[in-house]
Symmetry: C2
Subunit: 431 residues, 2 copies
């Protein structure tokens, strides 16, 4: 039996998962990989902290040089999160010819290029399956299984926290604040939930996965991003009435050679497989020109699911160790691709506004739409109070720029009380 | 650019898909793999047959030795189907040190061992992603991404034809014969549909995938198999009323170290992700001890989806070519495992019977169940004709042997007209 020594950087949630998997599934790993994997050192900030896992004290260290200078350690597994010092530690490990596995979406989405280049230059392997959608094998799926496909569209529910919140709002009529509070109590949401609910987390993940799927470098700053904070119970109800559910989708499409990249709450038909992904589950739905529709569904977070992907990557390193010449993790520099501006995005829209309930309002709105090439598909009008009516309009396909111009004009109407929400609709057709 | 020559055996449906993918997605393949893949020969039975694909006549051959003796051909892709001569051709290719890719579930499920041994002995790679669930990357998923997991349970909808028929019966109230006829008209079912509707096809696939998932040799003859021909509209309706849908499931479970393997129509809760897999789509749901719940969903058949998996395998061969020492396709001989006899399987059951509508019948049945340790969870009674009543019983968890003993006794009752159907229920809990 060949033996391999590895080091973990960080012993938080995912670190504990990796420790437990390697120890509890040792027999599976040995038999399947032919290697005995030993965690020989773990970098921690404080050796004395209680961690809920039995790790021999002598393998803990607070000094990274104990790891990076140890020639016996072949793989460094970065599970610290954040950009610094995670990036520096990984670069240093690569410069010492150690392979690197990471679960860190933030460093990949922001500083990935430098890491990919370093891995290439140093001739080491760099794997990051756990950085997107936890235990779901989406990176290997796109990179290997679907390698013969032109990927045309990709839709992901890649943030468990927001999916949990939206599920509670839809299925249990909770309002946003209560659902967020429950997510925090259950440990699905952080004390500061900004990164999840404002969709930074989903945007990082889309940057990583779309770079691979479309073979081009995607900067996460170039992705249109909109969180779920402005979704309220009324939107959920109207959506349901119209046959939709609302999900935070990370979307990447090839539209005639231009890339459309956006992360925002989206109305999707109740009958679509993504509509039935509930609670903190993640799913990624892909259309490839050969494979057709494909969906991968599973746990996007948690110590063991994420640990499963990390240990899977460690085994990939072992499998490919003697094969470095054919290894190529960097598949995001194959093509130059133009990004489509949001104003050119062509979708159906959901528009909820409040108007003074008097004659002529609808006529005014119709006229504005007409002048801006926006056509209405359906409209729901409800009395809300004595004088005000709530209006929900679904448009036919229209350019986002035209819709936004219309909304600017509608805002100038005397009869308008408020524009309450504008949401995009995906119908998963060819457009 | 490195160039690689390959040969196809067969130019039917899947062969045309592979030809089209390699030619239409050539740029993707070259950039992603670093190889220019050329189909340099294709074995056909009749060179003059029209095929709906433009293949240069000079690469067609009816003589296998043109391929197997050609030293420039590095990979043989078997797309003929059937056991003979597919097996002999693959063995011969391996003996000439050619790598082999196949989409042939039948030869794998029946003669796989000989092929695995030959590949091992000859030091060539042998890939077969397309043999199970078409374009869905389940083989690589289980073999690589989930390699760090103990797989505890696996449930597959792996036959598109039967899923199409059951979908039509459920969603459009068709009866079995009409649904089968429509499936045949649409090309989803063969003129002789036996292999699909009697679940041979699904059983072959379960043998292949469970061998990998549980690391042990599974003979398809050892798997309990039951087709969908006895499902009728009444069962579909009762199931719906009780909150279930009926799917043909291929099931493999590790129950305290014993393997439970069975393929049969199954009642599953409407809320489960597998319940929403409709039409000819396939899906495989896995519980791993690290990854938790994972589902892969997509097209299980068709020229391009299956071709996507075949070309993915060709690219895997190229990726691993210089890495043969670490390549190991054979993961089905790691453990010896006992198979659980069907009589020990412990499930909830759906039992539909017709009885003469007279006093005491229910009491008789209850007494028989009581003597055999079967307890009832719910019962629906409907009048059917003047004298006969239809009775649907759902049991609590019970051993199949006990249930079958009860049914034997019930059959002896004077008041019994007929035992119409016995179906198993999966609730996807830990049992």
């Amino acid at each position: 039996m060949k033996k391999i020594k590895i080091a973990l950087l960080g012993l938080g949630n995912v670190g504990r998962g990796v420790w437990n998997i390697i120890n509890e599934n040792g027999e599976e790993i040995r038999k399947r990989s032919g290697y005995d994997v030993e965690i020989s050192k773990i970098l921690v900030r404080d050796k004395d902290k209680a961690r809920g896992v039995e790790v021999p004290e002598e393998i803990l260290t607070t000094n990274y040089s104990d790891i990076v200078e140890d020639k016996e350690i072949k793989i460094v597994v970065e599970l610290m999160g954040g950009v610094n010092p995670a990036k520096e530690y990984m670069l240093e490990a690569m410069s010492k010819k150690k392979h690197v596995v990471t679960a860190n979406k933030m460093v990949l989405a922001t500083e990935g290029e430098e890491l990919f280049e370093a891995a290439d230059r140093e001739g080491v392997m760099f794997y990051y399956e756990a950085s997107v959608a936890g235990g779901i094998p989406i990176i290997q799926g796109v990179n290997e299984s679907l390698a013969a496909n032109k990927i045309e569209q990709l839709y992901g529910i890649v943030n468990g926290t927001t999916n949990y919140i939206l599920s509670k709002m839809e299925l249990e009529d909770m309002d946003f604040d209560d659902a967020l509070k429950e997510a925090q109590e259950k440990g699905y949401a952080e004390a500061d939930p900004t990164s999840d609910i404002e969709a930074y987390d989903a945007t990082y993940k889309l940057a990583i996965i779309s770079s691979l799927a479309f073979g081009t470098k995607i900067r996460y700053e170039d992705i249109y991003r909109e969180g779920i904070t402005k979704i309220n119970s009324m939107d959920i109800k109207y959506a349901k009435e119209l046959g939709f559910v609302i999900k935070l989708l990370a979307i990447a499409k090839d539209v005639n050679g231009e890339l459309e990249l956006r992360v925002h709450p989206t109305l999707i038909p109740k009958t679509h497989p993504l509509a039935n992904v509930y609670d903190s589950f993640n799913a990624i739905f892909i259309k490839g020109n050969a494979v057709g529709d494909l969906m991968l569904y599973g746990r996007g977070a948690g110590d063991l699911p994420t640990g499963s992907a990390v240990v899977g990557d460690i085994l990939s390193v072992l499998r490919n160790e003697s094969n470095l010449e054919n290894y190529s993790a960097i598949k995001n520099n194959l093509w130059e691709r133009n990004l489509k501006p949001m104003s050119d995005v062509n979708r159906r829209y959901y528009l909820r506004i409040t108007v003074k309930d008097k004659p002529g309002v609808l006529g005014d709105i119709t006229t504005i739409f007409g002048k801006n090439n926006v056509s209405m598909r359906s409209i729901i009008q409800r009395e809300r109070e004595a004088d005000n009516a709530s209006l929900v309009i679904i448009t036919h396909h229209t350019k986002e720029g035209d819709l936004m111009n219309s909304v600017d004009k509608i805002k100038e109407l005397d009869s308008l009380e408020s524009v309450d929400n504008i949401l995009r609709i995906e119908s998963f057709n060819s457009k």
